[in-house]
Amino acid sequence: MFTLLSVGVIAVLFANLFTGSADISVSDAVTAILGEENTASDILWKIRMPRALASLLLGGALSLSGYLLQTFFHNPIAGPFVLGVSSGAKLIVAISMIFSASFFGLLSSAFMIISAFVGSMISLGFVLLVSRKVRQMSMLVVCGVMIGYICSAVTDFLVTFADDSDIINLHDWSMGTFSGTSMDNVKVIFIFVLIGLVGTILISKPIGAYMLGESYAQNMGVNIKLLRALLIILSGLLSASVTAFAGPVSFVGIAVPHIIRVLFKTSKPLVMIPACFLGGSIFCMLCDMIARTVFAPTELSISTVTAIFGAPVVIVIMLNRKRGEING
């Protein structure tokens, strides 16, 4: 199964390299990859490759972030987008962009991620406050969506009135896109996502215990407070990396872990973590490919595509749950 996923990642990566508005034949592409310098190699190395790699890394990060939030809330439809985490990150990044544009010029990649992380933590903080009051999963999600809308509204407001040439990309970015990623960006993304992925693998054992509920996990010797804090920080870090570079991307965090669970028929963290990552990579690369090719040269925002494929999965999960409640 893992081989299948890995092969899938590589196949989709190449498919991404070979498709696009500029017509590059497969043989041209191959020689370009092998190092020959021409227009084709420029397009491949400077445009398509960084973009494909970014969607590979960020897709994995997003899916993993969703998995961590689902674990934390014991709730299969939790995810960075529905809980308003992405939108919170977006708001703070927009604010930082506008302010730093007028004071220091353009933002560095790392600073973008830090802003996004702060934003994620703030909206997660709100969601956590709400989750203390309500135990129902549907209410939690409703609150998350509302927080998301508030943040988006404020962001839109800022974007509308901050019509500065420095933040010309802000509008595109706030809709969600992988375009315009450079190889330098990819390096930064790689570092942050790697930290998130390794961190998550390291806590896979307590995650497994946490799935039986907090009391049992505690009885097995898990430090619950530490684990909960780590879950929140890691998922915030992962989704912040995504939001900082690609803007808020919807539904990947819910849809992919669910599909992976169904495919692998297990919920073992040691299987789920890498599988979610690879699955998220494939899902995002495919969606990005669709976003930029179907109506080329016009590009769709990535969220448009991920929502079309991801939202139905959420509906299916909700329906299954309902049925389970009636039968069980």
Partner: protein
């Protein structure tokens, strides 16, 4: 000589500053079963949670193997004491065997991979509760009685000296109640564990316990061996049952 595995002295339990039960004293030796009885809301669960270390005690001591529980690390505690709780768990896509195997947590390495020995211990625990035929069935699709046996197997898979169970038989029908308590009784003897449980079924409590604590109104109203505790007057008093009604249903 059987040694005392767990004991409490002047223990007082509650939430924050609010004391729920105080003056708790007991001593459980290897192979013995201690049962807590008392009306709903008397604080039986609070007592059990405090003994297990989920709640901070307000006063007094709990000693395991001569060591105060507050001085024992979480991991060490997990190897000595395990629990079966009232809260229902709903793990997704886990077989009964996988649920049982989570009991090996304190013994496995940093990635939680199971060794041959861990698997053997889990298999053994599954056999003890007679769940072999359902070991590979999804946990969410087995019956309440079977789930409870799986949770018991998970607890013994942790290889504890002390087992704590909060109303383990409440949702089971009479057949499964008897089956569960039989398993518990033989486990206590065979593995020389100390067992502390709470229950509402007085008839069963009388048969299975070595020692009984009655909790009511914030204190231990009565304690002793079953033949001393289970007399008509004492039970009527503990549960506030009028004599006429008691005679009607138990007499």
């Amino acid at each position: 000589m059987d040694k005392t595995l767990i004991s409490a002295d002047r223990l007082s339990v509650g939430y924050g500053k609010r004391v729920i039960v105080n003056g708790i004293e007991f001593e459980v030796k290897q192979g013995e079963i201690l049962t807590l009885i008392g009306p709903n809301g008397a604080g039986k669960s609070t007592v059990l949670k405090t003994i297990a270390g989920y709640l901070l005690r307000l006063d007094g001591t709990v000693v395991i193997d001569g060591e105060d529980t507050e001085k024992i690390t979480e991991k060490e505690m997990a190897k000595r004491l395990s629990v079966v709780l009232t809260e229902r768990i709903s793990p997704e896509l886990m077989t009964c065997r996988e649920v049982v195997e989570t009991g090996r947590y304190p013994y496995t390495g940093s990635f939680g991979l199971l060794t041959e020995k861990d698997r053997a211990v889990a298999e053994n625990a599954i056999e003890k509760v007679s769940m072999q035929d359902y070991a590979d069935v999804d946990f969410s699709s087995v019956s309440d009685g079977q789930r409870q046996r799986v949770m018991l197997a998970r607890a013994i898979c942790q290889e504890p000296e002390i087992l704590i169970l909060d109303e383990p038989t409440s949702y089971l029908d009479i057949h499964h109640k008897i089956q569960f308590l039989e398993i518990l009784r033989s486990l206590a003897k065979e593995k020389q564990m100390a067992v502390i449980l709470s229950m509402h079924e007085l008839d069963f409590a009388e048969k299975i316990s070595d020692y009984v604590l009655c909790i009511k109104g914030g204190k231990i109203t009565l304690s002793g061996t079953p033949d001393k505790v289970f007399t008509a007057e004492k039970i009527m008093g503990l549960y506030d049952i009028p004599e006429k009604l008691y005679r009607k249903y138990f007499g």
